[in-house]
Symmetry: C2
Subunit: 358 residues, 2 copies
């Protein structure tokens, strides 16, 4: 049975409140986390709520962070997330970027000492309501090998860019810099299906279709899959995200990024603080009148939507189309939560003495 | 026989001078164009010089452009390249971005009404000498199909990011948003070899290994090659570059981008002016002290260089390594110019009444 979006959001908020977060922070976290469920990225939504709480119990996540600017210029800032949830820290960073953009045309905020921030697209989309372009990136614990390597050196390091249009819905790209996100391997595992060649490699760096490749010490491959198909470009993209998120901010980078899961310890000898994000906001009318820009975005979107499909293939999509359709459906019909996730959430509710989700 | 870099550079400068460009613009163009030959991107260097002149003869390239800011904010500008060579317009745009970054922390310049700008990496690297990160992108005439489509809608739209280090050489990524750059298909054609699956498709959108696929009306595929391996992500990246380069600036986008080659006419009913670029500069110390950042970049680079290789594979490279090795070799030993290119350049010299290259 599906549960209404509002009910799940309230549950997330109550969970954060019960763990000691302020009302404001609990609301920010609930909005950010539910956006993943709404947009169909089930692996990054309420299914992760218990994980945030476990990190808090281990004192690896601070529910009362003092989030503050530690360095700034007219168009930039670095903020220290004080080990808060990325779900709270990233929206604060994005608000600073938007405020800077109001005055300077653009605003760019690098974040250190944070935790997992949910889906990248949500944070980028915060800029849209101000007629701004939003950008967000985050690093993540190492699962991906650079081209030619067998070592895990980079996270799936996503990039999101949200661009407003006028009559058309916005252009929203939100992509891991790997052929498939980690959650897709888990889906294959649950369905007892092989993964496609080009997604992962064994511990020795050999090609594999084993859906347990990561659990056996293997690694994910960068977007492009192999050298001949441009995996060095996927490696570049992941490296770019890592450097902007963590070397600019003073967070941990590469193999030092702490894991999200509480059963894995953070790597020893950290090179920075927590995980890192990088967000930006660009005021459209710092480039050209907003209505003029948005009219051309409408034309861009309509032109690409009309591109002819290959026979037997679906219609051409605009980045964000698929997620928006799922969002419309779920706002109307509610969210279906997997029974194992539901059990975990109800145990969490009992422990925190809040109402069970169902 | 190789020719010294200085001799080729002088030849490029004299060519632009003979076509009526100012001494300053001729120098800018020569520096930008030779950088491609130096870095081993032979398809984008002096081999294209005659192409620029043919566009000028057709009045599709202005040798005396009045490059000017048409819109700005403290951290942004849009410039009108007045149909100048991108080799001249983009360095001017990058200088404006750097000047803005000096004051505002970052500077971002969208460019309209330009032409082909050579290699993206060169422009990004201009920021390095100021302890800044440089970014550059450009759109290009449509050769790439979005996922599911058989129409050519996007160029190979490259992204370059240059990041300074301290003792290590800089991190310089410069990548087309396709599995392989267009020039690689031409190399396969000259060598009479099949292209790998996943680089291109036929006019009908079927997979192909035919090295003449593009000439037969086919299209290049986005990075990721097919949906299962993330081609929708390559499509997102190419679209992002197109929108930042052309919709922000007022240039032509998507299928309206004018071709570089003079034997193809620009598409009718343009939606903007010329082709578009987008460049940015970010002052490192707008985020954290430059020396601190660069020490961590050294550590990042050294850590990734030490990542273990898969047995039988080359060592892990840092973006920019390969191009820098070629540059060192060519600065020492000179550049070998293909005989067909040499013939074309000598005919050009005769026509413009300048000294033959050899």
């Amino acid at each position: 049975m599906p549960i209404t979006v509002q009910r799940v959001k309230t549950f997330i908020k109550q969970t954060f409140l019960a763990a000691g977060a302020s009302a404001e922070h609990s609301s920010l976290a609930a909005d950010a986390l539910i956006s993943a469920d709404l947009r169909g990225v089930d692996s990054h939504g309420v299914a992760r709520l218990a994980g945030y709480i476990r990190l808090w119990e281990q004192q690896r996540l601070n529910m009362q962070p003092n989030i503050r600017i530690v360095h700034e210029s007219p168009s930039t800032a670095v903020i220290d997330g004080d080990l808060g949830a990325g779900l709270v820290v990233a929206p604060k960073a994005m608000q600073i970027a938007i405020d800077k953009a109001q005055k300077a045309g653009t605003g760019w905020v690098a974040v250190k000492n944070s935790n997992h921030f949910g889906i990248a697209g949500y944070h980028a989309m915060q800029a849209l309501q101000y007629d701004m372009i939003g950008i967000s990136m985050t690093n993540a614990s190492a699962l991906v090998s650079p081209t030619f390597s067998k070592d895990r050196m980079l996270g799936t390091n996503p990039i999101a860019v949200a661009i407003p249009a006028n009559e058309e819905p916005p252009f929203v790209m939100d992509m891991a810099t790997t052929p498939a996100a980690n959650g897709k391997l888990e889906v294959c595992e649950r369905q007892n299906k092989d993964i496609p060649q080009g997604w992962a490699q064994t511990k020795e760096g050999k090609p594999t279709v084993n859906n347990k490749a990561l659990k056996k010490g293997g690694a994910m491959l960068p977007l492009g899959s192999d050298r001949e198909h441009g995996s060095h470009k996927g490696y570049c993209l992941g490296a770019w995200v890592d450097i902007f998120s963590a070397v600019l901010s003073g967070a941990n980078y590469g193999p030092w990024v702490p894991p999200f899961v509480s059963f894995l310890s953070p790597p020893p000898n950290p090179v920075g603080e927590g995980i890192g994000h990088f967000v930006g906001a660009m005021r459209i009318d710092a480039f050209r009148p907003a209505l003029e820009f948005k009219a051309h975005m409408d034309n861009w979107i309509q032109t690409f939507r009309k591109a002819q499909s290959v026979e037997g293939q679906p219609e051409v999509q605009i980045p964000g189309d698929q997620e928006r359709l799922i969002e419309q459906e779920r706002l109307k019909n509610g969210i279906i939560i997997h029974s194992s996730v539901m059990n975990e959430l109800n145990q969490l509710a009992d422990k925190l003495k809040i109402d069970r989700l169902k």
